[in-house]
């Protein structure tokens, strides 16, 4: 199944500082809950893992990330990822373009557009949860990026990124689901 996402986040730092955050792959990856860069193969290729909790199941994806293009002048990065879960039952691919746009002297916007494709058991069994879980992961990701940016702004040492908290995530998913039901009822 295909999940297309388009999100943006206002950061309280200048565009150049914002870009520095983004172009550092291991650092930015660490902001994503459950994600980890395990090996830098060369300048543009990385290996990593991503742990996702989908309801009662935990899936560990192992894969490769390729920086397909990195345009420092345009502050744009294009990343391709591909992985499979360690049990071989699911596959995933990612096509992400992120751009840092200047919005003020000490303000910028991180805009991302991504397409995630999931196949196998995760898609077959997790389709209902997928977009809600993705949404929650992104919220945590953005909170982590924002915290890093704020730390940059105050020149304090960067905080330890927020870890994936299973219970909190489950609660958020339930809350989101309940809201969506309520929203649907209102729409009706």
């Amino acid at each position: 199944m295909k999940i297309a996402l388009e999100k943006s986040l206002a950061l309280p730092v200048g565009a150049d500082a914002g870009w520095k955050l983004v172009e550092n792959i291991p650092d930015i990856a660490a902001c994503m809950p459950g994600a980890q860069i395990t090996e830098r193969v060369d300048e543009t290729h990385f290996k990593g893992t991503m742990t996702v909790k989908l309801g009662p199941a935990t899936v560990v994806f192992r894969g490769e990330i390729e920086v397909a293009s990195l345009d420092a002048a345009g502050r744009t990065i294009h990343v391709l990822g591909k992985g499979a879960d360690v049990t071989g039952g699911s596959g995933a691919s990612l096509d992400l373009t992120a751009q840092v746009r200047e919005t003020g002297a000490q303000a910028c916007e991180l805009a991302g557009r991504s397409e995630v494709n999931v196949t196998g058991k995760v898609a077959a069994f997790g389709s209902r949860l997928m977009s809600t879980v993705t949404d929650q992961l992104l919220k945590i990701f953005f909170a982590n990026v924002l915290a890093k940016a704020q730390a940059l702004q105050s020149a304090a040492p960067p905080p330890v990124p927020e870890k994936l908290n299973g219970l909190a995530l489950i609660w958020a998913v339930i809350k989101e689901f309940a809201c969506s039901l309520f929203g649907r009822m209102k729409a009706g």
Partner: protein, 800 residues
Amino acid sequence: MDQTVQNSGRLEKLEGIGCARKRREDPRFIQGKGTYVDDVKLPGMLFGVMVRSPYAHARITKIDTEKAKAHPGVHAVLTAEDLKPLKLHWMPTLAGDVQAVLADGKVSFQNQEIAFVVADDRYVAADAAELVEIEYEELPAIVDPNHSMDADAPVIRPDLDGKDVGAHGKRRHHNHIFNWQVGDKDKTDRAFADAPVTVKQDMFYPRVHPCPLETCGSVASFDPVRGELTVWITSQAPHVVRTVVGLLSGIPESKIRIISPDIGGGFGNKVGVYPGYVASIVASIVLGRPVKWIESRSENLSSTAFARDYWMTGELAADENGKIRALRVNVVADHGAFDACADPTKWPAGMFHVCTGSYDIPNAHVSVDGVYTNKFPGGVAYRCSFRVTEAVYVIERMIDVLAQKLGLDKAEIRRRNFIRAEQFPYHTPLGLEFDSGNYGPALEKVLQAVDYEALRAEQAQKRADPDCPTLMGIGICTFTEIVGAGPSKSCDILGIGMFDSCEIRVHPDSSAIARMGTMTQGQGHQTTYAQIIATEAGIPASGIAVEEGDTSTAPYGLGTYGSRSTPVGGAAVARAARKIREKARKIAAHLLEVSADDLDFDLDGFKVKGDPSKTKSMKEIAWAAYNNVPDGMEMGLEAVEYYDPPNFTFPFGAYLTVLDITKKTGETKVRRFYALDDCGTRINPMIIEGQIHGGLTEGFAVAMGQEMPYDEQGNLLGATLLDYFVPTSMETPHWETDFTVTPSPHHPIGAKGVAESPHVGSIPCFSNAVMDAFAHLGVTHFNMPYNNWKIWRQAQALGL
């Protein structure tokens, strides 16, 4: 004792045709004492688990089985490379295609079988299956069959590269399987061009799954010393499996024994031969130990034999009064990645050409294109004869669409088009000969039973009231099925004619054993076949043991599917019993010292014409068969019959349902479902009623909830019972049943078959009722399943 009372006592004891005899199968089932494949446990038995593809379409670049092989308790990990030297990595399908047993360099549907891990038990095997490392190069998948033949469509079957001709004629694209046409195209086109009224409707019959409670499985046990292979298997057609296994393995059929034990529901899902069966057999041959393979629920729902997936366009041409002049149907049939349809060899779209239905339609033309997609293979008859559900659906929907266009009542348009009783045997424009029918009275009986006029009046009142919170839909379906495949001149599977067989041995004490080539899976053969023998040979049913499913003891038969047991197997039973009766007549004549012509058969024995005091019972005759037979006669009382039917049989029915739909929620309630079936001579009314209840419930399931949704990448999103709708008693409506009796003139006892009619007839009945609810708002069709969500969306779209 009074003669009538005495006769009625004898009749009761016989429990013959027409008696509501209790099912002989039930005591073991309701006590949990059935023996299913998973109950078979042999010394030293190992367990196999399939490693399956997460991708719908991908090239396999590497398979590493080392870690799995090193896992404690693992005995073997088979891949296509291991099967290649044995030439078992591909197998023939029943449809004349081939199917990969284990993926040969490429996967073409999600959950396709890639490797078979054999271990001490299923848990170890499942753990080790996760250690098989496979690398894939993903390829674009085709999910929508309407795009299978696009110019730039990816090649699903490179093994067919360059083959312009398939098992069913010319292929015009690399993803094309066949084009099958029947009827006179020119005459039909002319009839359409000249007709004052024409209607056309696209409709999609979704991919569904028979979903039997017991999944598929096998236990293979190869004896290397004797060179004999025994396989316990969930098969509706054990003899066909033996032939396929023999063809594949090179082992002579005399050294292969296929045993179908109790089957927990088949509904077409257990007709085919699956990779798991073959893998367990190979593993047993390689390892010299028994190997069991049992599917999980999700494996069953995602890899073994789906049904339907037909994209149909129906057209009718008619005069202003609604008299139909022509029918035209075009179909795109999604067969998945391999053509593993279970149809008679010469009929790639099965009996779809029964689609002129119960109506006297002078011209018709049908064209079906079968195509490959990246979905699992199948296309079986899910509780129906081959593609008959699709055929009945298209004509029953179209006649309603026509009625709607003409503003005609939906019962009235049927009356105007029915084949009349005096037209039988009726030759359809698509080449079939309907044996018997009496459609008009059946419909009138139903209309009267439900007070149709009052229902229509209530509906009109509700439609006129804008504040009415509900919509009311009345659905009618007057279907004709075609069952009992079939005459060997037109029907075969793998070159074997679709006859069926029966062997009866009457013991000296007059009890008997009867064996058949069919295979019961809930139809109650142990009960009903004994009833046929009781009536035909005069032996009480309680003394007759019925055995099926063991190829070492049963005569060769083509199995049970497509409602063929009664029309073909049942006919063989009746004729074998008559052979017993005729030999018994000669023995009785010898014992009574009269001519055989002077004897009348009388329930359970013979009496001399004109002297009813001189009689010989079957009990006395059976004893004499083993010690006192006429000169020149062989001892014993046995008979064998291989019955090749002269024609199909054509059961029919008239169904009516009333639905109440809540406009604001889409909630749909079945207020009433009245089903009248005519299956010819009724062997056991209680079993018929049970079969009808089962068929209606599965029809309700298909119409109101079942589907196998795929996303664009070919991920199957409904392969669990969380998603796939299997109705329980909570959801199932109340069924009202009724019957008429129009015997088949060519069947020995006039029976036609019944188990599938209610499935075939109820689905369009539900569709017609849903459309009828929305008809006054201009809706002619939307696709199944009619879950509350879909109905609600339709109501919303209309601003209700």
